[in-house]
Amino acid sequence: MKTLCVALLLAIAGAPLAAQQELAGRVPPEIAALVHQLATDAAARGLPIEPLMQKAIEGSAKGVPADRVATAVRVLLAQLDVAAAALRQAGSSRPDTDAIAAGAFALNAGLSAQQVTALASVSRAPYSTAVTLRVASTLAAMGVPAAETVELVTQTIASGGPATDVLGLPGRVMAGVSQGQGRGVTPAQAAAGLARAAAARANAPGQNKPKPAHP
């Protein structure tokens, strides 16, 4: 037990130290100090710190004033907190940092916390929560409305195919838009068509349907 506590403390203390080293020379000192403080709090709450560092580095590289970089980093931290809560709502008592980062990105792409919870609830092996959320956020970024995004990903998982079915969704939506270019097919329409096809597969007799995660 003592070993576990020491390892946890080292992880919490070590992560912000790594953050400080990564930020050195890349961001102004006041931003480095702020990110160090926020990263310490974030690590203690089990949140990933890499996205916070990336946002600070990105803002500084783009020549954004320090106060706006600070605001963007704080907003991102709030999204990480909301994502972690949404994942806990889905039944994961201690969500992994990859999934939290993917959840925060999904929120930034336009999904709601409830939709993150819904996607995390349907996502189970062989579909990792982080991958499911990344795919959903990519679809949202492509212009597929959030509700249609959730429907498409949910139906694809329910159809019981391999994980590559979910990974391939953005490409298939893009292909659907390209093929229907003459008819003015939108990403939302392409996604709706794929969701209908997935639902038909999910309801086909003899289909290997995944068991519900939370009966």
Binding site: R26, E58, K62, A72, A102, S128, V131, G143, L167, N208
Partner: protein, 187 residues
């Protein structure tokens, strides 16, 4: 490693027969059954004297002082062993997520005929606008770079002439939090 269709896996588990498979999966099902047959082994026949030798060895060890004689098994001493066994069984029975390739090679293309230089900056190179320059290739005004990136989600933008940050017109994009857009790449 071969990754069979879920229905073919059901066939191997005996939950379906070959006739239950849709026609397009039957060839895969037959191949899977052939592979299974190939790993089937002849029944193992133990030498007749083996049982007697094992019993003799057990008797010899029971008479010799050693670890097993010192160890007194009480019901609660088995609890950690059962717990470890249960954890191992759970780990072995949980299907591992299908792994995406560890790295993927991607070609970035930007049409910028007026540009003097174009670079790529993103989460994969610490947003360093000098790290990944694009080169002019093919048709006039076409800039390209080919990178091998780890699987996962990446955000990026093109940097034109060292100052202008431009989202990739061919990729989805999200708000970057600074009033601009970042392109998104999921691998």
């Amino acid at each position: 490693m071969t990754d069979f269709h879920p229905q073919v896996k059901q066939l191997l588990d005996g939950e379906l027969t070959l006739a239950d498979l849709p026609p397009e999966l039957r060839a895969e099902g037959e191949e899977a059954l052939r592979l299974l047959a190939a790993v089937d082994r002849e029944p193992i026949t133990l030498p007749a004297a083996l049982g007697a030798r094992v019993l003799a060895e057990l008797r010899r060890r029971a008479e010799a002082p050693g670890f097993w004689r010192r160890l007194r098994l009480r019901p609660w001493t088995l609890v950690p062993a059962f717990a470890a066994g249960a954890v191992l069984a759970l780990l072995l029975s949980t299907p591992a997520p299908t792994r995406a390739p560890a790295a993927v090679t991607v070609r970035f293309v930007l049409f910028a005929p007026e540009a003097q230089q174009v670079a790529l900056a993103g989460t994969f190179n610490q947003w360093d606008p000098a790290a990944t320059p694009l080169v002019r290739t093919g048709a006039p005004g076409v800039w390209t770079a080919t990178l091998t990136l780890p699987a996962g989600q990446h955000q990026y933008a093109f940097v034109v002439d060292g100052a202008r940050w431009v989202a990739d017109p061919a990729a989805p994009a999200v708000d970057d939090g600074f009033g601009q857009r970042n392109s998104v790449l999921s691998l």
